[in-house]
């Protein structure tokens, strides 16, 4: 029998049902894996006692034959989701003492389905970053580092969530994706993750970065596991005015459909960019071949405004962030640097509480919304955003999904990307789908020459997660990716 921590959610569910092991054994296995991997600096807050306690309740339900969808499944939560009575920091000093009195909608749904919480995992501060290095608790280390002897970044912002799954420390984790924060780190860490359509998962109780872009999603080893997690995490929430009032289909239903006759895959030509590593180009072609083998038709499509996506994103996201983060002022909760007057209270609390990258984005956002600059930046960015949306709409008139690389390179070394612009380039393939609110998924599909994971991205039409999952499952099936755990 394979080690428990090498199994998928579906396999664990099966084993629990067949009494191969108990929920307690499963929980203990992941707790000890988490402890063994302490050097990766994944957890902001580790809650083994909580997981152990809940595992007993799960076991009782399993014994009664009344198990819920995720009973006995230990998972980790990105430290951006508010969890009742448990420290929620967004990896920021300004929230380093914040204990919410409420539970986010998405995590509540997971607990209601029987999932067990191992703890809160690290991310870039307020999800702003692509390397996990902006966390006030220090970076997470990519578990693949041991493969090539270098200290690699897990990517970001959901670096902790990707590493915790990749290292076999949890069966799944929640992530959030604003411009690629699920897809880029899962590609770097050799695991799977989906950013569903904007509005699919409630944002209520998730610390906001950029409201028009933020979307929660699952990070798992396999496509089917992601589909299962997404089944639980999705759904309309009347507490989130931007959540979609739509029925949630069974996302697992297309994950075993390996016939791709009549399926059209679009290859956007604008994603061939300078500076992309040859091994990524090769993998991309390989992905097309795999899908063609299964009967899909490969079509070149054009998304002409792609090159404007990154600058557009880096106007809109900071603009919203500058306003969303205004509430962290030291007045009601969080870090407070007491001063004699209000302006200084703000300046010292925020100056001390926010890291450099967050401060940079607040400044950019404040600038692009300022009188005299609004039209040139924010308004123009909104117009370009509409053009990007239209690009996708036209493409989806012709094809079912789009296939692209997830990132232009494999995981880079920690501390190697000092220039913010080159850091932002990590998001070049993921940002367009975010701006258009489309579902997009990354599947680990091969290894670089250095033996590091590479991901392929599937982008689907709005609320058509099922097509995305189906193509992802086919890639996964053919890639036979060598998971670390």
């Amino acid at each position: 029998m394979t080690e428990i921590t090498k199994k998928t959610i579906l396999e664990i569910k099966e084993g629990l049902k067949k009494r191969d092991f108990s929920a307690l054994e499963v929980t203990k296995a992941f707790i000890s894996a988490s402890e063994k991997n302490k050097n990766l600096n994944i957890y902001n807050t580790f809650t083994p006692e909580k997981a152990l306690e809940s595992s007993k309740i799960s076991q009782q339900r399993i014994d009664r034959g009344e198990e819920r969808l995720l009973d006995g499944i230990p998972i980790a939560i990105k430290d951006l989701f508010c969890t009742k009575d448990i420290l929620t920091t967004a990896s920021s000093k300004i929230l380093s003492n914040f204990i919410p009195s409420y539970e986010s909608t998405v995590t509540q749904k997971l607990w209601d389905a029987g999932a067990l919480m191992l703890g809160k995992v690290s991310c870039d501060e307020f999800a702003m970053g692509s390397s996990n290095e902006t966390s006030c608790f220090g970076n997470v280390i990519n578990p693949w580092s041991k493969r090539n002897g270098k200290n690699l970044s897990p990517g970001g912002s959901s670096g902790g969530s990707s590493s915790v799954v990749s290292s076999g420390s949890a069966l799944a984790a929640t992530g959030t994706d604003t411009g690629g924060s699920i897809r880029q780190p899962v590609a770097f860490c050799g695991v799977t993750g989906i950013k569903p359509s904007y509005g699919r998962c409630s944002r209520w109780g998730i610390v906001a970065f950029a409201s028009s872009l933020d979307q929660a999603g699952p990070i798992t080893k396999t496509v089917s596991d992601s589909a299962l997690m997404l089944n639980v995490m999705s759904g309309f929430d009347d507490k989130d005015s931007t959540s979609a009032d739509l029925d949630v289909p069974d996302f697992t239903q297309t994950c075993n459909d390996f016939k791709l006759d009549k399926v059209k895959i679009g290859i956007p030509k604008e994603y061939q960019i300078d500076g992309m590593s040859p091994e990524i180009v090769k993998l991309w072609q390989q992905g097309s071949e795999w899908l063609k083998d299964r009967g899909a038709e490969i079509v070149e499509v054009s998304l002409p405004h792609t090159k404007y996506a990154l600058p557009t994103y880096y106007v809109i996201a900071p603009a919203e962030a500058s306003s969303n983060l205004a509430r962290y002022d030291g007045v009601r909760y969080g870090l407070r640097n007491s001063q004699d007057n209000l302006d200084e209270l703000y300046a010292y609390s925020r100056g001390e509480g926010f890291g450099y990258e967050v401060q940079r984005r607040i400044l950019i956002g404040t600038y692009v919304l300022s009188a005299g600059y609004y039209d040139a930046y924010y308004r123009k960015a909104q117009r370009v955003r509409n053009l990007i949306i239209q690009d996708f709409q036209k493409a989806f008139d012709k094809v079912d999904v789009l296939l692209t690389p997830t990132t232009p390179t494999a995981a880079f070394e920690l501390g190697s990307q000092l220039d913010p612009i080159s850091m932002y380039m990590n998001d070049v393939f993921t940002v367009p789908a975010s701006l258009a609110g489309l579902p997009a998924m990354s599947v680990p599909s091969g290894l670089s020459e250095d033996g590091l994971p590479l991901g392929l991205q599937i982008i689907g039409n709005q609320f058509d997660e099922n097509s995305v999952l189906k193509i992802a499952a086919n890639l996964e099936n053919q890639a036979s990716f060598p998971f670390l755990n």
């Binding site: 989701f81 508010c82 929620t88 967004a90 929230l95 914040f98 919410p100 009195s101 409420y102 986010s104 944002r203 209520w204 109780g205 998730i206 610390v207 906001a208 950029a210 409201s211 028009s212 009347d238 507490k239 989130d240 005015s241 931007t242 603009a319 919203e320 500058s322 306003s323 983060l325 205004a326 509430r327 002022d329 007045v331 009601r332 909760y333 004699d340 209000l342 703000y346 404040t366 919304l369 300022s370 009188a371 609004y374 924010y378």
Partner: protein
């Protein structure tokens, strides 16, 4: 109305005024959260996670507040915008938990409209409405509770306000006063704002500029946060005088925000820091644009109550009231409600007279509002009915009224108890008249000799003999017949 002018050293100046009225929406819950809006709660008692801007909290629009805004817009004869947007107005203050106020900037829910204001001399004027939009109120900072600390009360944080902006059509303090009263009255009839200025449910910002006759518009200054009609009128005069002085001294008016000091009767600029806001408005990404269906609007339209202007016309046309009485009665919802109950099946004009003279007089003397009137509308109606059908005379009615006001008793029971019923029996009256004539033969002769004025004396004598109960009309008629 006579034109209002500020007399400077050399020239006379006209004033141009635009008003922004912040009216708290009548609603149990706040604009984007379920918290209560109850006035007078303990500090921070009505604060939800959303109101305190906890991490990850999101606003959800309160549909009732949308209805109230549409209703108000219809009452202001304004265009209802089927598409509107909520924007964030960004600024830092300790009682603004989100660091921004959710408001409407480029696309408000209500567009242009107009209201008519009326003056005691019977003149009218139309004042244009620029827009009405919905926004959140901020919390309250208390700086006087501790020597070095400020306290924050977030009970008001997130309460729904309607900001009603007038066009710069107002040219005198009286017009400004009449405009605010009219808006207040319309909102109260619609039940969309309680109009209570002492509790802060209605607050005003005033934009004032001055110009010599025929000149283009001058630079305006905004005077913020005026919480009574009187202060608005006083602030306008003070500010206009200041501007005239500046201009005549050769200075330019600087566009700025000022505060009114009601003790010193002057306006002074706010700290320049408070002026320097760049609010960085942008559409709130947590809220979808607001789209209203035709059905939604027409449902509200069909359930609108009668408004003051319509009531005034009805009072003139259907009840024969004077224009002025009609506007007095239609100004306040409580007064017009009182009138309509009192006048059921009664002579409207007579009810109006008793309401606006006797009842208003007594209420004023006792500092009572019409809601607390000891005489209920049905009771006043009964009293007026007794006058109309001749049961009592007008003079007796005044005594009865006074007793009703004091004790709250019905007119009928006072009449029965004291036997005050008017005597309209012609035999009784003839007997009394004959008596008076017989006893005053000398006066009769004088009268017949041409001293017409003595007629009143005879009437008075008869009334006195009857204890005031003789029907005065009959006394007059019979006396006249007997003496001539």
């Amino acid at each position: 109305m006579e034109k209002f002018l500020i007399n400077g050293e050399n020239d006379n100046f006209e004033i141009v005024v635009g008003l922004e009225i912040h009216a708290q929406v009548n609603s149990q819950a706040k604009l984007f959260s379920g918290s209560s809006t109850k006035f007078g709660s303990k500090p921070n008692e009505n604060v939800s996670l959303v109101d305190a801007a906890m991490p990850g909290m999101l606003p959800v629009i309160n549909k009732h507040c949308i209805k109230q805004a549409v209703k108000s817009g219809l009452g202001l004869r304004a265009k209802i915008n089927k598409f509107s947007i909520f924007d964030r107005k960004n600024y830092f203050y300790a009682d603004l938990p989100q660091g921004y106020q959710i408001s409407q900037y480029s696309d408000p829910i209500v567009g242009e409209g107009n209201v008519e204001i009326n003056f005691p001399d019977g003149t009218k004027k139309n004042i244009g409405i620029e827009r009405l939009h919905l926004e959140q109120d901020a919390g309250k900072s208390l700086h006087d509770q501790h020597p070095s600390k400020s306290y924050i009360d977030l009970n008001r944080s997130g309460v729904a306000l309607m900001e009603i902006v007038s066009k710069p059509d107002i040219t005198s303090p009286d017009e400004a006063g009449a405009f605010i009263k009219k808006i207040r009255s319309i909102l109260r009839f619609l039940d969309t704002c309680d109009g209570n200025m002492e509790q802060g449910s209605l607050r005003c910002d005033v934009n004032v500029s001055v110009r010599r006759a025929g000149e283009p518009l001058g630079t305006r200054c905004e005077i913020k946060n005026l919480n009574s009609v009187r202060f608005v009128m006083m602030a306008i005069v003070s500010e206009a005088k200041r501007q005239v002085e500046e201009i005549e001294n050769g200075n330019e008016i600087i566009q700025e925000t000022r505060l009114f000091d009601s003790d010193k009767l002057e306006t002074r600029p706010m700290r320049s820091k408070e002026n320097a806001h760049d609010y960085r408005y942008f559409p709130d990404p947590d809220l979808m644009p607001l789209e209203l269906t035709d059905d939604f609007i027409s449902n509200i339209k069909s359930s609108l109550p009668l408004l003051p202007d319509e009531i005034r016309v009805k009072l003139v046309n259907d009840f024969g009231l004077s224009d002025y009485d009609a506007s007095v009665i239609s100004e306040e919802k409580e007064t017009s409600d009182y009138f309509f109950i009192a006048t059921e099946g009664k002579d409207g004009k007579l009810v109006s007279n008793w309401l606006t003279t006797e009842l208003f007089g007594s209420l004023n003397k006792n500092s009572l509002s019409i809601n607390n009137s000891p005489i209920k509308p049905k009771q006043l109606g009964e009293l007026v009915g007794f006058i109309s059908d001749g049961t009592i005379s007008g003079r007796i009615a005044k005594d009865i009224f006074a007793e009703m006001f004091e004790t709250g008793s019905d007119a009928s029971s006072i009449i029965d108890e004291k036997g005050l019923k008017q005597n309209s029996n012609s035999e009784d009256i003839i007997k009394m008249i004959d008596n008076v004539i017989n006893n005053n033969q000398d006066k009769v002769n004088e009268y017949k000799g041409g001293k017409d004025k003595l007629f009143g004396f005879f009437v008075g004598q008869v009334m006195k003999d009857s204890g005031g109960k003789a029907n005065p009309k009959m006394v007059n008629e019979i006396l006249k017949a007997k003496l001539n």
